[in-house]
């Protein structure tokens, strides 16, 4: 007679393989669906580049302070700009497929490596902001929902309403005014103390100190959003029958809130997380500009002023790819959290 655990194991194993297969299938399907979108964005990018007044050669010649018409024509031939538009489009797409996004003459670097060198700082900022916003949003939302229509709920809701309406760049400036200028607790910009030459633990502390204000600034809007969503989601789940059952069997209010309601109320939050990646990237342009954070957003801001359209479109393309990837990750997370969902 087999033991209970043996039965369990023999029952679990095919289940486990099935789950892995399901995830793998989902992953393949998602990637296949992402291809036309990325391709579409690349074509769109190319069209924008065509519509922009002046081409790469104009920029180059402007930079050099003028050139003879013969030389300009020669440059156009060398860059393939004298070819018909469909040929240029084909070449552009082939380049994008090999991650060749062109050359930034201002930075004297290929666009792709320039972007990759700035990406980690932005990802750090975004991850910090999402972490703060999600955690605090869940806590505040749960607090508000458990105290619905009481003073605590009112306070949380009003604060969320205000944070929701505040321009992100303005709150950044106000935080600098308070914490850097008046209280002098935190640095007002940059990612590292210039010239301090720190290493190891000290370096980490230094980066963390520089990170506080930009991450909180970027997080604030999403904190408000998640708080409101979490409150609404909790209240909705509270109304369901199984919650009454849990109460009837004698579960305490805290256990009902955290064990029974919270888990189900988190699902819409995960969906929201995926939807916010693009908007976070936009927000980080403003935050990085305010705090001089050396990331992708700051690079985009510089590209605007240097009229570096190649770089700007490269950033737009890679950011869109980042959104596509984030959506796939969220879908996987979702399939993991809620096995009922068969994603198509």
């Amino acid at each position: 007679m087999p033991s209970v655990s043996a039965i369990r194991r023999s029952h679990d194993e095919p289940c486990y393989t099935r789950a892995v297969l399901r995830i793998a299938r989902l992953l393949v399907r998602r990637f296949l669906r992402a291809i036309p979108i990325v391709l579409g964005i690349a074509v769109f990018n190319f069209l924008l580049l065509q519509l922009a007044p002046g081409d790469a050669v104009d920029v180059l010649v402007g930079e050099a302070g003028g050139a003879t018409p013969e030389y300009v024509a020669e440059l156009r031939t060398r860059f393939g700009l004298d070819q018909p538009v469909p040929v240029q489009l084909g070449r552009y797409l082939a380049n994008v497929a090999t991650l060749d996004l062109g050359y930034s003459f201002r930075h004297n670097m290929p666009v792709a490596s320039l972007i990759l060198s700035r990406l980690p700082a932005t990802l750090l900022l975004m991850a910090g902001a999402i972490g703060i916003a999600f955690t605090a949003g869940v806590l505040l939302g749960v607090t508000a929902a458990r105290n619905v229509r009481r003073p605590l709920d009112a306070i949380v809701s009003v604060v969320a309403l205000l944070a929701y309406a505040t321009p992100v760049f303005w709150i950044g400036l106000m935080l600098i005014l308070l914490f850097s200028v008046h209280l002098q607790w935190l640095p007002s910009g940059g990612m590292l103390t210039v010239g301090a030459d720190l290493a190891g633990w000290d370096l980490m502390v230094d980066v963390l100190r520089h990170m506080v204000l930009p991450t909180v600034t970027l997080a604030l809007f999403y904190l408000a959003l998640y708080t409101r969503l979490m409150r609404a989601s909790m209240l909705e789940v509270y109304g369901q029958d199984y919650v009454t059952t849990a109460r009837a069997k004698g579960a305490g209010e805290s256990r009902v809130a955290f064990h029974h309601v919270l888990r189900n109320a988190l699902l819409p939050m995960v969906t929201m997380l995926g939807l916010q990646v693009g908007s976070l990237l936009g927000g980080s342009v403003l935050v990085e500009t305010v705090f001089g954070w050396p990331g992708l957003g700051r690079l985009a801001f510089e590209a605007v002023f240097q009229r570096d359209h190649n770089l700007l479109l490269g950033i737009l393309l890679l950011s869109s790819v980042l959104v596509v990837v984030a959506n796939i990750v969220v879908d996987l997370l979702y399939a993991r959290l809620d096995p009922r969902i068969e994603l198509t």
């Binding site: 007044p53 309403l161 309406a165 400036l173 693009g278 936009g282 403003l286 700007l312 950011s319």
Partner: protein, 277 residues
């Protein structure tokens, strides 16, 4: 209409929002009367703190420009761009969503792919690129904000139209031989209007924030005074003259807050079934 008004008034926050919004609207209308001169003019000594000189109650910036004049004229620009950009987004989104939901099939698939494409590109970054490439002006800013913000409207409208498409009154119209355009505009659209109006009202707030962000980055129309522009310029003197950045920011905050409150009030009044959510 009467019941709509009664429902709206029952939401006290929405009434407060409407009052603030009326105040901002009054600022926008009165700006050319109270401050007939160009808000870019240098009128007094620079760095005048708020309250230091009663003629310039809100102080002056680093160039001696009157901040109160800037904020009043900025209200015009913010409201105008917010409203027109939202209209552009609604026009695009409702058209695409209505065609998608009404015709279904290949039309739906193609249009939804397009929507997905636009939804994937990060909106604010996209707006920056559009304005930067086509040079900043009120027109390009309005179009850029409209172009980046229509996808949610298209999805919403499509959903509504999908539901309406198989309803009996629409089938009856079809059987009567009514043209598609007429069915879409006269029969489906009015029934889908409530959620679209609510979404549209909230989009005005987002559009104002986007415009302020663009102007802050230096992508405002160089010919008009915008709240974001004042903050962007005042940033350089944040340490010595805090009020240059602070005051226009409060104006943006109040306006956006007011629009959000009004939008929620409209939601309560137009979708009474969802009121308790």
């Amino acid at each position: 209409m009467k019941s709509f008004f009664r429902l709206f008034v029952r939401n006290r926050a929405a009434v407060a929002g409407a009052m603030i919004l009326l105040g901002v609207l009054a600022m926008a209308i009165l700006a050319p009367i109270l401050y007939p001169d160009d808000p870019w003019d240098m009128v007094a000594e620079p760095y005048l703190a708020p309250g230091a000189n009663p003629d310039y109650a809100l102080g002056t910036d680093m160039m001696g420009r009157d901040l109160a004049a800037g904020i009043f004229h900025g209200a015009r620009v913010s409201l105008l761009i917010g409203l027109v950009a939202t209209s552009v987004a609604l026009l695009l989104g409702v058209t695409i969503g209505a065609l998608s939901g009404y015709y279904g099939g290949h039309v739906d698939r193609a249009l939804m792919r397009l929507t997905e494409l636009f939804q994937t590109i990060p909106a604010f970054l996209f707006a920056i690129v559009l304005v930067a490439i086509f040079e900043p002006s009120v027109t390009t800013i309005v179009l850029a904000i409209g172009v980046v913000s229509w996808p949610p409207v298209a999805r919403l409208t499509r959903g509504e139209f999908l539901g309406l498409r198989s309803r009996e009154f629409v089938l009856a119209c079809e059987a009567m031989g009514m043209s598609d355009v007429r069915i879409i505009l006269r029969h489906c659209l009015p029934n889908a209007a409530a959620p679209i109006i609510v979404t549209g009202s909230l989009m005005v707030a987002t559009a104002i924030l986007t415009e302020a962000g663009l102007a802050f980055l230096g992508l405002g129309d160089p010919n008009v005074m915008s709240w974001g522009t004042i903050i962007g310029a005042g940033r350089e003197v944040l340490r010595s003259a805090w009020y240059v950045c602070t005051l226009p920011g409060i104006a943006i905050l109040l306006t956006v807050l007011a629009i959000n409150l009004v939008g929620e009030g409209l939601n309560d009044a137009l979708n009474p079934r969802l009121r308790n959510r």
